[in-house]
């Protein structure tokens, strides 16, 4: 496998610069500084409550950081709204699956493609000026409401969605309700839905949660496959050490909102700070 672990020639796609998130008196994320490079597969681990999901929520614009800056692909995304950040190319999945359970598999994917045909220039314009992008997006939105020349686009959208569903091996469920799928396939559908937004960076929040060893194995192959096929950078949270150590090139370890270690899987396994965070410290002299 080609995994140039610390290949500094690859340019950073996501930069978190001294990001801090406070909820009242609780500091959930504290002075978090990290870089994800183009094409990397990075893991984020840490004990429960360490602030991992909060980091994802900050990147995707669900929360806005109290302090610090988040830069994606050269654009400061700190003040942007979730849908604008999605337009720029960040997609995510959730710890507890959040599909639109009453909608079919096809519809789930279609919703995610929504913006692509609404606003083809969003990427470009957002780079120049956040405000005018909003105006363009609004224009396209009303145009879609009024259906000016839209039926053709809609057909194209459906065929693209079908293509994606087929690629990910879910086509036998095409018109089934999302809630009717087996658990492992619901996870896959959630990833398919994220891919439909055409991301450059994919954030996976505990993709292997609740899976048996066989499903976990499948998932690992699946993640590696889509990474190649869709040319993705992946940042994932995971508790299953087999997954993390098996596919991640680099690992960031968090505890109490802070980064306590960073390195290759080997380095992390032997890092005393990490062992302490997970297992607790031995009392000296006892």
């Amino acid at each position: 496998m080609t995994s140039p672990t610390l290949d500094l020639s690859r340019k950073p796609i996501l930069i978190l610069d001294q990001v801090t998130m406070q909820f009242g008196g609780l500091v959930a994320v504290d002075d978090f500084t990290a870089e994800i490079r183009q094409g990397e597969l990075v893991g984020l681990i840490g004990p429960n409550g360490a602030g991992k999901t909060t980091v994802f929520n900050l990147i995707t614009g669900i929360y806005h950081p109290t302090k610090g800056k988040i830069v994606f692909d050269g654009i400061d995304i700190t003040p942007l709204k979730p849908h604008q950040i999605t337009h720029l190319g960040i997609a995510r999945t959730f710890q507890n699956i959040r599909l639109f359970s009453d909608m079919t598999v096809l519809e789930n994917v279609l919703v995610a493609q929504h913006h692509k045909f609404t606003n083809p220039d969003a990427d470009r314009i957002l780079k120049i000026n956040g405000k005018s992008a909003k105006r363009v997006a609004n224009f396209w939105f009303w145009r879609s409401v009024l259906k000016v020349g839209y039926l053709k686009f809609e057909k194209e959208m459906v065929s693209k969605a079908k293509e994606l569903i087929e690629k990910l091996g879910l086509s036998k469920f095409m018109h089934e309700k999302a809630s009717a799928l087996p658990y492992g396939d619901q996870r896959k559908l959630e990833i398919a839905r994220a891919l439909a937004t055409d991301p450059k960076l994919l954030l996976l929040d505990e993709p292997a949660a609740g899976m048996n060893p066989k499903e976990t194995e499948d998932l690992m192959r699946f993640v590696e496959r889509i990474r190649e096929e869709f040319d993705l950078t992946i940042f994932l949270i995971e508790h299953d050490m087999k997954v993390v150590m098996g596919i991640c090139e680099r690992i960031i370890v968090m505890d109490y909102g802070r980064i306590i270690a960073e390195g290759t899987p080997k380095e992390i396994q032997n890092n005393p700070k990490v062992i302490e965070a997970y297992l607790g410290r031995e009392w000296e002299g006892v």
């Binding site: 849908h83 639109f100 929504h114 913006h115």
Partner: protein, 299 residues
């Protein structure tokens, strides 16, 4: 049989009107979990828009209908932007109280702009003979207007169902009803879709209100209250949050009211009370309504 048919058509008509208004309540509730108490008043404004475009600006009926429907849609959109959007993240009760405030505001605004003296919607028709025309179906004489209302109502429902189930914006509406944050992470501009939902609901309410005014031609600033309340009951009856539920609830409520009044004329005076009896019964027996889904709260 004749008597039955006569009442059947009246019931469908009244029920269709309730349904047209009820859909707006249900769609907004489905998305924001908000009872938009101003909905009946948006309907009232729509009726005034129609009245003024026809009587003062002497537009033809179809044009004034269109102007009123679009005007109400714009008003609904505006209300969401000004009154509800700033409260999206506030506790639900804040938005609810705001809705009551918007309702009072619109009623009083109408008093100031249009005056409190009731107007007769029949002024809209230059040629009053159209009101007298009837069609005979199996000996039952049905007013032409009743047919017209039924046809327009069903046409509007077809458009509504097409929009909600066959278009992209409708899909976004359904996605938002399921999960707002996730939908926004799919790249959907949630605020625009919510605004569109308000516009769509208001347009249907205005259409319902105009046809209501053809039947009950007394136009005044508080005219939105009773149909608004009945439509709300219809929405709860059918299962609030569900569009087909609102349609079913509206039609059933209209039918029940008409048939009870027709076959038990002695209780006619209590007609409005039946709606509330239905509401209370539904809340006791099946709180989620006829087509509503049983909500299981995560503990």
């Amino acid at each position: 049989m004749t008597f039955f048919l006569q009442n059947f058509f009246n019931g469908i008509m009244l029920g269709g009107l309730y349904a047209l208004i009820a859909v707006g309540y249900s769609m907004v509730y489905g998305i924001l979990r908000l009872i938009n108490f101003a909905h009946g008043d948006v309907m009232m404004m729509g009726v005034y828009f129609a009245y003024y475009s026809a009587v003062v600006f002497s537009l033809n009926p179809i044009l004034s209908f269109t102007v009123a429907v679009l005007g109400a849609a714009a008003l609904g959109f505006l209300i969401d932007r000004v009154a509800y959007k700033p409260l999206r993240k506030a506790p639900r009760i804040s938005a609810l109280i705001t809705a009551i405030g918007v309702s009072f505001f619109l009623e009083n605004l109408a008093v100031v702009i249009f005056g409190a003296i009731p107007k007769s919607f029949l002024d809209v028709f230059k040629d009053k003979s159209i009101l007298e025309k009837t069609i005979t179906v199996a000996d039952a004489r049905i007013p032409l207007l009743t047919f017209l209302v039924i046809i327009v109502t069903f046409a509007m429902f077809s458009v509504l169902f097409f929009v909600v189930y066959k278009t992209k914006i409708g899909m976004a509406m359904r996605a938002i009803a399921a999960d707002i944050p996730t939908t926004s992470l799919m790249g959907v501009n949630v605020d625009n879709v919510i605004g569109f939902t308000f516009a769509l609901g208001s347009a249907l309410a205005a259409a319902g209100g105009i046809m209501w005014a053809m039947r009950f031609p007394n136009v005044h600033p508080y005219m939105g209250f009773v149909p608004g309340l009945k439509a709300f009951i219809a929405a709860v009856f059918g299962g609030i949050g569900s569009i087909s539920g609102a349609v079913l609830g509206g039609i059933l409520l209209g039918m029940i009211e008409i048939f009870l009044a027709a076959y038990f004329p002695s209780v006619m005076g209590y007609r409005d009370a039946f709606a509330f009896i239905i509401l209370i019964t539904v809340l006791l027996v099946k709180p989620s309504g006829l087509l509503g889904k049983k909500a299981i709260e995560k503990v």
